[in-house]
Symmetry: C2
Subunit: 559 residues, 2 copies
Amino acid sequence: MLQTRIIPPAANAHPYPLLIKSLLLSGSRYEKNREIVYRDTLRYNYATFNERVARLANVLTEAGVKAGDTVAVMDWDSHRYLECMFAVPMLGAVLHTINIRLSPEQILYTMNHAEDRFVLVNSDFAALYQGIVGQLTTVIGTMLLTDNAAAVELPGSVGEYESLLAAAEPSYAFADFDENSVATTFYTTGTTGNPKGVYFTHRQLVLHTLSMATTLGSLDSIRLMGSDDVYMPITPMFHVHAWGAPYVATMLGVKQVYPGRYEPEMLCKLIKQEQVTFSHCVPTILQMVLAAPGAQGHDFKGMKVIIGGSALNRALYEAAKACGIQLTAAYGMSETCPLISCGYLNEELLAVGEEQSTTYRIKAGVPVPLVEAAIMDSEGNRLPADGETQGELVLRAPWLTQGYFREPEKGQELWTHGWLHTGDVATLDEMGVIDIRDRLKDVIKTGGEWISSLELEDLISRQPAVKEVAVVGVVDSQWGERPFALIVAKEGQSLNAGLLKEHLKPFVERGVINKWAIPSQIALVTEIPKTSVGKLDKKRIRVDLAQWQEAGSEFLSSL
Amino acid sequence: MLQTRIIPPAANAHPYPLLIKSLLLSGSRYEKNREIVYRDTLRYNYATFNERVARLANVLTEAGVKAGDTVAVMDWDSHRYLECMFAVPMLGAVLHTINIRLSPEQILYTMNHAEDRFVLVNSDFAALYQGIVGQLTTVIGTMLLTDNAAAVELPGSVGEYESLLAAAEPSYAFADFDENSVATTFYTTGTTGNPKGVYFTHRQLVLHTLSMATTLGSLDSIRLMGSDDVYMPITPMFHVHAWGAPYVATMLGVKQVYPGRYEPEMLCKLIKQEQVTFSHCVPTILQMVLAAPGAQGHDFKGMKVIIGGSALNRALYEAAKACGIQLTAAYGMSETCPLISCGYLNEELLAVGEEQSTTYRIKAGVPVPLVEAAIMDSEGNRLPADGETQGELVLRAPWLTQGYFREPEKGQELWTHGWLHTGDVATLDEMGVIDIRDRLKDVIKTGGEWISSLELEDLISRQPAVKEVAVVGVVDSQWGERPFALIVAKEGQSLNAGLLKEHLKPFVERGVINKWAIPSQIALVTEIPKTSVGKLDKKRIRVDLAQWQEAGSEFLSSL
């Protein structure tokens, strides 16, 4: 280590730890009258928000929550969730955002594993909670969250959220503490085994917020979110703090809209009624919103949406554009807090035609400030950033999970050679643009070549009759693996193996893909299995496929 | 201290210290072809900039500079300075930016006090350096900076900057080290005694850069600087790293223009030629630029300038606006890195008329993200933020100097009650807006009331014939103190005590000021003394005034 100059601070100097409470110092002071809106149910302003955070802290303290405790939330996306994102960590406690789309068994597992002490439960999940409460090992109390006046029984409840807040003191003297204290945790489902707990400290969340604000505000020709935007997440708040955007919005004093559960009509209504200008979601949710009756004929002009979680294809980009929505791709994962990269057009790309620059809007983008990205081979050698060489994407940034909760061995696997290993195969180019080619485990190895399932999905999605597609590799005695495509056709449109082959041929002729990349089999289905966060569930697709093949299912057609 | 949950990181996890080198990870990758311009002399792109930083690191290492050493720079504002702002701290060394406007004795004092080991000297200062070299106690070597081919002798020189860089390797493996290592130091001149050394760590500069980027990009309706702006500082780089903006610009990959010494014609030429859209300076410099022949008739439309260092008055705001320049006030000081607050119009202010909102553009603004501001009485009691109560402005932020270099007692005075004491008298309002009323020591105490010299200066400056004004307090046996105004009239315009009294009367009638605030004496002069950073030199004004009063000078006229 270099012998640098380090000077002890003056006796009375304030060390200023990076704490989540400091994100309330700016926007909520400047914009006291800006609103936070929850569905049709509630709206209040930032002055009230600040008070409600203090009230919640008093209620939790009264209920016995102490620094170091874990407080879990089971709720739809709401103002209550936002308040928990501040009040819980500001007490020095850990917020556990429960993935409500997991099975009851998995939820039970994560709650015991995270050592939850106190749980806030939406009445919609009261029955689910009732079913697992007997097996919870660490919970000392609960609180009821509800939009309905009707009483619901919740075991161990100290009362209902809104009533408790109304009765509590509207101020709380939040203490300073170590910025490396854990602030949040949640569980990510891998391909095998139990969900794993990632966790983030106050320092990490503050730094993520600052870099994300810079990314949304200062980079690129488009200001994705400034203080005069209106923000609504369409990414669940249990999933990586809704990508961290609520912290950014709060720091800037942006008007925020929370839609509860994702009903397309309600989402459309809120977008129109509250004049939402910035959001983020996975591709399938956007497709759902654009297909909703309420969206038909509506001009979304001025709306900007970040797409992450899955690759953004050109077809969706163009469809959104036709409705007035500017899409930008971004990349991240549960382990990365999540923001790693964001679509960006530099001076040269802005000068070329839109056809060419769009290619860059839909790639994973450039690493945002303070993120270092590289690609590596399996021995830990760094590979060239030439836009062609593929390798595993590895990362350094100030906001990456430093391990998995209570599973040090898995943390060591994640962090090999001092870099976080994403499990994604990517190329990097000279400009730093990350192009995700595939999940390491989804790459199709055929005849000694790697085929990207993502690239194939993109090409297939350009066939006009294709609504949705998922590609996986199937074992092939001659080639090792061959691609298989699961396809949903647009309503009323005809599609078959022959038409698909016709569509893919020109890409082989132009050298975009090689001929082995043409799937040997497709299946036309009405729905594609998705994971709890809306991604293509390739694990499940492989299981289904194996069963169909065994049964000689009529779904399958060979090309 | 609360018992929060702290989890040790995984064995191979990268801790990611906040280091200045990480500011080079983003903009300089995305925008390899963006330019850095030095006067008419040199232009190169960010790809070359990155290489030049590495070359400079190799040259300095070769010259014997080690981590922990202090490397001083005596230069005008140049690309070389920018390169030093990165290369020196990235080596783990400390950059000492020498205030070239100090007297040779003061420069000598600061160099010995800072323990400078190596000095980069512009040929324009070679004679000055020659004059003090015999008394320098810690310097082991120097390097010559010059724009001229003509050879200049510099004692102990290892060579000329450009030649050395050209011969060096264009890459350097910069190591990680403790983020609390000192990165920069410089000296601030107080009212009494020797200059004091403030210092900032890598962590502090990175956090300042992120918050400043957020402020410039995401807050307010105006995007002050985004990646497509063109930046030129008109604040000396020796003074608080040109307010930190070069670090922000570099992180974002913004085109940067460095003007050398401040010749109004060159500044105008560069603004026009390079299409500068963002800058920052003290009021007097802007007045100088706007008065330059090259500025006459030029439309500066689209240019945004932050004004700091002294109060921004409405007359200058309007004059700039007439030329197409949008001014915004900001506040900070050497001890604060410097950004503390920036002009901001919230939703309500944007909705009111421009007349009223301008009042908020020219105040010191709202504390930027992560800054906490309060006002205190002399006993350390917090005073109400009611927009009326005046008190000393005190601060907390992650980037405040933690003391004065090698003077722990002065650091303790600065940090009283755990807050940095600014020495400025201010009000705070509900929205958080800081309104600086005066320097604590410049407040005029008359008849038991406090009169703000700044407010009086603002009111007097609205008299159409007034070009510039400085107000100080003079001892008065009856009132304790009375205000005295030093005034420069506009060329060819007539001004006298009677006209000034006429001008101030309505403000007394409307209750803006009380009648004791009308100066008892004024002096009409051709120039007002300024400090080395362009502020009104009230210390000097008081000395001059005392001499004039003693001599019964004809400058003085009573009101």
